[in-house]
C-alpha cells in the first residue's frame, strides 16, 4: 500500500461540490429550467455547432446542461449529506444505547439492525419508496432508514470494546452518569471510525439516490438531481451523448473523490482494520 | 583441516537510506566445515536471524547484503535467483522459528511433504520421510491436518521436509523456542542424528544457551549485529573472554543452594540506528575504558580457533 498522502485533489473536488451545492444558482450561467427553443440540443463547446455560451451543450428543450448539473449537485449533495448526518446521528445514538444497556434492549436493537441489513440496500430502499412515496423529502427519509443500521452496529461494537477498559470501569465505579461516560470517553474513541464510515457513505448515498431517481422512484421534476437528468437524457442517448455522459461523469467524480478521502482516512487511522 | 563448506567474509546487511544505513549485520566472517554444528547465540535483535536469511537469500526487499558468501565454491550473493532456488531446500535446508504456523493449515501433512519430495525428485514416500525423523504413527499423520498435530510433531514434519534430500547444510532458526521443554531435547537429538547419519553441517541459531551447549561444536556470539566472540563450545562455556559472553552466561537462570539465581546484564540493547563509534557493548560493559567508547575493537586470537573482539580481552582472561 502506498503511504497515505493527503489526497489534495480529491479534497478540493469535495469542497467544490459542497460549495456548488450551497451556492447553487449563483454559480450557474442560466436558470436550470430555462427552456430556449432556439438552442435545442446544442453540442458541447469544441464540437461542430457548439458554442461558448453553452459549454456543456443543451438538452432537448434548450436548457443549459452546465446549469442543470449545478442544480443537480444541490439536490444530490443535499440528500446524501442529510442522509449521512441524520442516519449517522440516529445510528450512533442507538448503538450507544444498545452497547451500554445490553440485555434485552441490546438484543432488540441489534435484531432490528440485522433485519435492516438483511436486505440488499436498493431493495430495502425500494420497499421504503413503495410505502413512503417519491420526492426529495421522502427520498431523504428512505436514505436515512437504509443507512442508520451500519452506524449502530459499528458504535455498539466500539462501546463493547471500550466498556471493558479500565478508565471507563473506574468512571463507572466513581458514579459518573452513563451518558457522561458515553460523551466523554466512548465517542472520542469511536469518532474516527464513525467519520470514515460517514465519508464513505456519502459516495454510497449519491449512488443510491441517483439509482432511485434514474428508475423514476426518486427525485421528481421539477426538482433536479444527477440521476434524474441522466434518466431524462436517456431517450436521446443515440443522438446527443452529452445528455447522459455529463451527469454520469458528475456522479463518478463525486463518488471517486469522497471514496478516496474516506479510504485515505481509513488507512491513516486504522491501517489494518476493515469496515 | 578439510575445505570449509561455507565461507562468510565481511557479510553486511543494511536497511534504510544508502547515506545512513542501519546495519542489522555488520562485517560478519566465519567458516563452517562439513558435518560441523555451529551455534549462533545472541539476544533478539542481535542480527542472528537476519544473518541466516542473508545466507539463504530470503531477506526482505528493502535489505541490501554485501560481502562474500561462498558455499561449496559458489558465491551465493551473486547467484541468479533461479539457481539459488535450486539450492534452497536441495542443498541448503532451513527450519524457521515457529513450527505452529509454518505449515499450511489447509493441506494434509502428506500433501505438503509429498510436494517437497516431488519437487526434489526424491524417491522416498512421505511416510518414509516422516519415519526418518521418528514421528510416531507416520501412516496416520500423512492423512492429518497441521492443527491435529502437537508443536513437537509439527517441528519433526518441518525437519523432515527440510532434510528430505539430505542437504549439506541445515540452518535452524530458534528450532526449539516455541516447544515445551520436554520436547526440546528430543528435537536437539534429532538434529545430532541428522548430522551423524548424513554428515549435514548445521547452523543453529538461538538465544537458548543450553541448547547450544548440548548440540554445537562451535559457538558464535553476536551483539548488535556483530560477532563478538567465536570459539569451541567448551571454551566459550568454560573460559568466555568477551564481557558480553560472560554476562549472557550469567543471565541463564541456574539453581544454587535451592535458589534460582539470575543475573541480568544491566542496561539495554542499543538502537542499531544510533550505534556509538566504539564497541557497541561499551555502555553496558563492567570493564569499559575510554578507548572502548572511542574505537571499535578488532579481532584478537585467544587460543586455538578462539577469537574475540574486545580491547579488554587480555586483562579479562
Amino acid at each position: 500500500m502506498p503511504p497515505a498522502r493527503l489526497p489534495i485533489l480529491a479534497i478540493a473536488v469535495c469542497v467544490l461540490l459542497i460549495v456548488a451545492a450551497l451556492l447553487g444558482g449563483v454559480l450557474a450561467p442560466y436558470a436550470a429550467d430555462e427552456a430556449d427553443f432556439g438552442a435545442v440540443m446544442v453540442p458541447p463547446y469544441g464540437l461542430e455547432g457548439g458554442t461558448v455560451a453553452h459549454l456543456l451543450g443543451t438538452d432537448q428543450l434548450g436548457r443549459d446542461m452546465l446549469s442543470r448539473l449545478i442544480a443537480g449537485t444541490r439536490i444530490s449533495m443535499l440528500t446524501a449529506g442529510a442522509a449521512v448526518l441524520v442516519a449517522g446521528t440516529i445510528g450512533v445514538l442507538l448503538g450507544l444505547i444498545a452497547g451500554y444497556l445490553g440485555g434485552l434492549v441490546d438484543a432488540a436493537i441489534m435484531r432490528l439492525v440485522d433485519a435492516f441489513l438483511a436486505l440488499p440496500f436498493i431493495l430495502m430502499a425500494l420497499a421504503l419508496v413503495a410505502a413512503l412515496g417519491t420526492g426529495v423529502g421522502n427520498i431523504i427519509l428512505v436514505m436515512i432508514l437504509t443507512n442508520w443500521a451500519r452506524y449502530a452496529r459499528l458504535v455498539r461494537s466500539e462501546v463493547l470494546s471500550i466498556k471493558r477498559r479500565d478508565f471507563v470501569l473506574l468512571a463507572r465505579v466513581a458514579g459518573v452518569r452513563p451518558l457522561t461516560i458515553a460523551m466523554r470517553h466512548v465517542l472520542p474513541n469511536a469518532q474516527t471510525s464513525i467519520l470514515v464510515l460517514a465519508v464513505l457513505d456519502v459516495g454510497r448515498a449519491i449512488i443510491l439516490e441517483s439509482s432511485l431517481s434514474f428508475l423514476g422512484l426518486g427525485i421528481q421534476p421539477p426538482d433536479m438531481s444527477w440521476g434524474l437528468i441522466l434518466a431524462q437524457g436517456r431517450t436521446y442517448m443515440g443522438i446527443a451523448w452529452w445528455l447522459t455522459v455529463w451527469p454520469g461523469l458528475a456522479i463518478v467524480l463525486a463518488v471517486v473523490c469522497f471514496n478516496t478521502v474516506g479510504e485515505r482516512l481509513r488507512v491513516k487511522f486504522d491501517p489494518r482494520g476493515a469496515l | 583441516m578439510t575445505q570449509p563448506l561455507l565461507t562468510v567474509r565481511d557479510l553486511t546487511v543494511s536497511f534504510g537510506p544508502q547515506a545512513q544505513p542501519v546495519r542489522a549485520v555488520a562485517e560478519a566472517s566465519f567458516d563452517l566445515h562439513p558435518g560441523e554444528i555451529l551455534g549462533i547465540a545472541g539476544e533478539s535483535g542481535s542480527g542472528k536471524t537476519t544473518l541466516c536469511s542473508a545466507l539463504i537469500r530470503t531477506l526482505p526487499r528493502a535489505a541490501r547484503a554485501q560481502g562474500e558468501v561462498v558455499f561449496d565454491g559458489r558465491s551465493l550473493l551473486d547467484l541468479p535467483e533461479r539457481e539459488m532456488r535450486g539450492l534452497r531446500g536441495r542443498e541448503i535446508g532451513m527450519v524457521l522459528q515457529n513450527p505452529m504456523t509454518s505449515l499450511d493449515p489447509l493441506f494434509t501433512i502428506g500433501n505438503q511433504v509429498n510436494e517437497v519430495l516431488r519437487e526434489r525428485g526424491a524417491r522416498d514416500t512421505a511416510v518414509e520421510a516422516l519415519r526418518r525423523v521418528h514421528l510416531t504413527a507416520p501412516e496416520l499423520r500423512v492423512r492429518q491436518y497441521p492443527h491435529q498435530l502437537s508443536g513437537g510433531m509439527r517441528q519433526r514434519v518441518l525437519v523432515a521436509m527440510a532434510t528430505a534430500t539430505a542437504p549439506r547444510l541445515l540452518i535452524a532458526d530458534e528450532p526449539t523456542t516455541a516447544l515445551d521443554a520436554s520436547i526440546q531435547d528430543e528435537i536437539l537429538l534429532l538434529f545430532r542424528e541428522i548430522r551423524d547419519t548424513a554428515g549435514t553441517a548445521i547452523i543453529i541459531v538461538t538465544h537458548d544457551l543450553a541448547a547450544i551447549r548440548r548440540l554445537s561444536d562451535r559457538v558464535i556470539v553476536m551483539y548488535a549485529g556483530r560477532i563478538v566472540e567465536e570459539g569451541p563450545t567448551v571454551r566459550i562455556f568454560h573460559a568466555p573472554r568477551h564481557p558480553y559472553t560472560r554476562g549472557l552466561l550469567a543471565s541463564v537462570p541456574r539453581i544454587e543452594d535451592d535458589e534460582v539465581v539470575l543475573q541480568a546484564i544491566p542496561g539495554q540493547v542499543p538502537n542499531l540506528a544510533e550505534l556509538p563509534p566504539g564497541c557497541a557493548f561499551a555502555d553496558r560493559c563492567p570493564l569499559a575504558q575510554d578507548r572502548c567508547r572511542a574505537e571499535r575493537p578488532g579481532e584478537t586470537s585467544v587460543g586455538a580457533r578462539h577469537r574475540v573482539f574486545c580491547w579488554q580481552a587480555e586483562q579479562g582472561a
Binding site: 440485522d114 433485519a115 420497499a127 454520469g248 | 530470503t58 535450486g86 509454518s102 491436518y145
Partner: protein
Amino acid sequence: MGSFLYRRVGQTLITLLLLTLLIFILARLTGDPTPLIMPSEATDADRAFFREHYGLDRSLPEQYFVFLGNILQGDFGVSFRYREPALGLVLQAIGPTLQLSGLSMLVAIAIGVPMGIGAAVIPESWFATSVRFYASLGQAMPSFWVALMLIVLFAITLPWFPSSGYGTAANFVLPAVTLGFYASASIALLTWANMTEALRSDFVQMQRVLGIPRRLIVLKHALRNAALPIVTYLGLQFGLLLSGAVVTERVFSWPGIGQLVVDAILNRDYPLVQACVLLTALLFIAINLAIDLLYAVLDPRIRA
C-alpha cells in the same frame, strides 16, 4: 459445528420474522389500497366487501398474524395489477435474475481474482496501480450509467450486441459485463488484501526456504488460504449484485425481479412489491447461510 449451525439458523429466523413485520408496517403506511383498486363507480357496499375480503377491516395485530400465516402457507397475496398470485409472478422472474447474477459473479471472479493476485504478488508496480484505479472506478460508476455507456458503444455505435431483451446468448453479454464490472472491483480489492496477508504468513516463508516454486506457493497455498475470506464475502457480494441487478435489468428490459419490483412500485401493486422483497431477502439470507456452511467444508480447522 452443530451448535454454531443452530445458533446461525435461529438468528436468521428471528431476522426474517422482523423483516416480515417491517414489510407489514410499510405496507400499512401506504394507506388504504381500496380506492386504488376499486373503480370509481364502485358502491360503498362493494368497497366494504373488498375491505372484508382482504381483511382490511380487522385490527393491525390481527392483520399481521393473518399476513404471517399466509406467508407460511406460501400465500403472498394477489397482485392488484395482474390479478394473479404474487408468488407465481416472482418465481417466474427469479430464474432470469439468478442467471444474470450468476453469470455476472463468474465474470467478476474471472476479472477480479487474477487482478488481486497480480497486485499482491507485484505491489508497487504499474500493474498494482492500475488495479487500484480500476477498482476505484468500478466502485464509483453507477451500474445504470455503465449500462447506458455500453449500449451507446456496443449496441448503437458498434451494433454488436442487442441493447435489450432476453432469450439468446447475445442478450447476456452487455448486462453481465455491466454487473460483472461492478462486482469485480470489490473482489479485486478483497483478493489483493487477503493475498498480501497470506503471502506474509510463516508457511509461505517456510515454503520459500524449502525451494518450492513461486508459482505453486502463490497459486496453491496462498490463494487457497486467501480464498476463505473471499468466499465469505461472495455472499455479501451477491446482495450487491442483486441490488445492481434491479437497475441493470431495468435498463436492458430483463424480465427479472428487478424489473418486476420497479414496475410493481410504479403501479402501486403492493402485494407484488411485498412478495418480491420478501422472497429476495429469503434468497439472500439462504445464500449467506449456504456460504457459511461452505466455509466449514473449505476449512479443515472448523470441519473437525
